[in-house]
Subunit: 348 residues, 2 copies
DNA sequence: TTTCATTATGCAAGCGCTTACAAATTGAAT
DNA sequence: ATTCAATTTGTAAGCGCTTGCATAATGAAA
């Protein structure tokens, strides 16, 4: 513990470099090994010893040095997550749940964003690996084989969230996006709509977005309907893009009586476009969302949407990953989203 | 580079432990020192050497071990941020900006949340210190002296975001919450309101929330008005809490004609409560928000609120912190929020 | 008391990397 | 060819921590 200082305006500030294990050892009169034990495995140390060491730790304000620890134990107690974006609320809740659940186990969460860009995602994953994360949470299933190969070759545990399908070779915690989209589309059809359009998220590199389109197609096909270039728009997940897409759809050859949106943010944008065009929802055009984020209940009219249990998904992902990390095996987990009816969908 | 393996279904998967600097050194025929140099300071190495080393790096797929690096250099290229919550959108945008700006400089952002709890914040700060962050971004100014003492004694650079005041002893990137709140309150008064109430965020440990109350008080006082127990409610930053607070205010002895809210989320809740009570906004009661998150434009009626340049604030915080980290000095930065009028505020 | 299994502690060797400092190489000037 | 300064590379000492193994302390049984 070398004190060093620098001069500033005639004063010398002494800055102690942070205390080390060795400082604690000296202070408590035990060896570094013992101190290390009381920190990592307290029960392996006699109570009296432990108490003395703990007092020394408190006195010096000791905090283990992360790097040293990682180096010696080859473990970081860190797991990483790469999500598309923090900018809209879609992932916020699940992420918070993930984090809280991990924190409970003494694990820190490292979050990186990809902006829905597969290349950037791969880069972020590599960065996280470089930081020695003990596990990884990724959104969705669609990504390069090379990425999966890299993870496997390292034996790095990971879980995919938000997607789920039978026979998925990876561990996932999610739901059947296609079935969920089919469900809400069927609901729309049940209300008698026949001119239905869809605003989907960008499908490149995004299996959730793609599967939701397919789900809608499934439902329509069952009634002899289809999605054409005039009735299917693709837009990044922002209100503005949703509004723009809606305007385009509205300007098409036949005005849709219902617009199914790939998520709540897009639906919110669609609502805005409707309002701006002097149309009422659901009077003139019905709109549905997907995700059931808080926004869905706050817009006017409140969105009929698909409820996703964000919080529970985040929690479940944490637990699953923790088990994998500890070498236990664990099954994928599938959730069953439900359509929640509010006021943005009505009979034709 | 010891290969080890395990058996699974009769196959043996060989997992190489990740390559180390030494592996690269052997492969390229140079010493570890030289390899380290091409990674950290390429210009200090002859071009031919560099190229050979780079080839070896690529061939082995080498990534530096974070822990080893942190241990040896006492630097992590990581900065930490402790924000109150990820659950609502208030901090999302700024955080994203912060992250992108830091990434540009090769720095990783570590995010922790405190749930608006000062004790938890202190704990998270310690955790981040333990991970050897090179700097810290904190929200607001109000926290224990001991926390500041700890940061100072370590010489750890940090910046406070969202708050700013003349003579603040710390580096900050924010705005004058009190003045901003005063500004919007004045706007409300200018519309002729005299029965004005306020829903504030929880003020304990939250200088922003407290200062906003004071700002409103300032404006009211200038017209001989005050905030009483009947006209000031405090609520956590959620829609539901905002709605509950609004209901309480509405049930008070005199019904307010305007409710000034501590942020947009509370205002959204207030709007919901109004609707539910059969009251119209702004017809019966005007409502104002604060922050100007995306939600503000999407609710009905869209919120008159105070626009905060989240993105620029995040960016500025990143730049400031980076400078501090590099030992340069840098001034605090103050933004000038503007009231943005939409439709939730109208004449009495 | 002595003995011997148990349990508690200490010793010391790394983990992968950076960085003074020393040694070697280069190449321009003689 | 030499010489010498400038440049490039290598040597080796840690950074703070964990952990296998050896040693010491403990306490129950004899």
């Amino acid at each position: 513990m070398v004190p060093y200082g620098f001069e500033s305006l005639g004063n010398v500030f002494l800055m102690k470099s942070p205390p080390t294990l060795e400082d604690v050892a000296k202070e408590s009169g035990f060896s570094t090994a013992t101190v290390s034990r009381v920190i990592n495995n307290p029960s392996s140390v006699r109570r009296k010893t432990r108490e003395k060491v703990e007092k020394a730790v408190a006195k010096l304000g000791y905090t283990p040095h992360f790097g040293g620890r990682a180096l010696a134990s080859n473990r970081t107690n860190t797991i990483g997550a790469v999500i598309p974006t923090m900018e809209n609320a879609i992932f916020a809740r699940g992420l918070q749940a993930l984090q809280e659940e991990l924190a409970e186990a003494g694990v820190t969460l490292l979050v990186a964003t990809s902006g829905y860009d597969p290349e950037r995602e791969a880069k972020q994953i590599r960065a996280l690996l470089g930081r020695g994360v003990d596990g990884l949470v990724l959104i969705g299933e669609e990504r390069g084989e090379d990425v999966y190969a890299m993870l496997e070759s390292r034996g790095l545990p990971f879980v995919l969230v938000w997607s789920w399908r039978e026979d998925c070779p990876w561990r996932c915690v999610g739901f059947d996006n296609r079935a969920a989209a089919r469900a809400i589309a069927e609901r729309v059809l049940d209300y008698g709509h026949t001119r239905v359009a869809m605003i989907a998220g960008v499908t490149r590199g995004n299996d959730r977005a793609r599967l939701r389109v397919e789900g809608v197609r499934d439902a329509l096909a069952a009634r002899g309907l289809t999605l054409s270039d005039d009735t299917l728009a693709e837009a990044p997940y922002t209100c503005d893009a949703g509004a723009a897409a809606a305007r385009r759809l509205l300007a098409g050859p036949i005005r849709p009586s219902a617009i199914i949106c790939g998520n709540d943010v897009l639906a919110t944008g669609a609502l805005a476009a409707l309002r701006e065009a002097g149309l009422s929802a659901p009077g003139d055009v019905s709109v549905t969302g997907f995700d059931d984020i808080e926004l869905a209940r706050q817009v006017d009219p409140p969105l009929t949407t698909v409820h996703i249990p964000h919080w529970r998904m985040g929690q479940a992902a944490a637990r699953l990953l923790l088990r994998l990390r500890d070498g236990e095996d664990a099954e994928s987990i599938v959730f069953q989203p439900k359509v929640v009816e509010r006021r943005s969908l009505a009979a034709i």
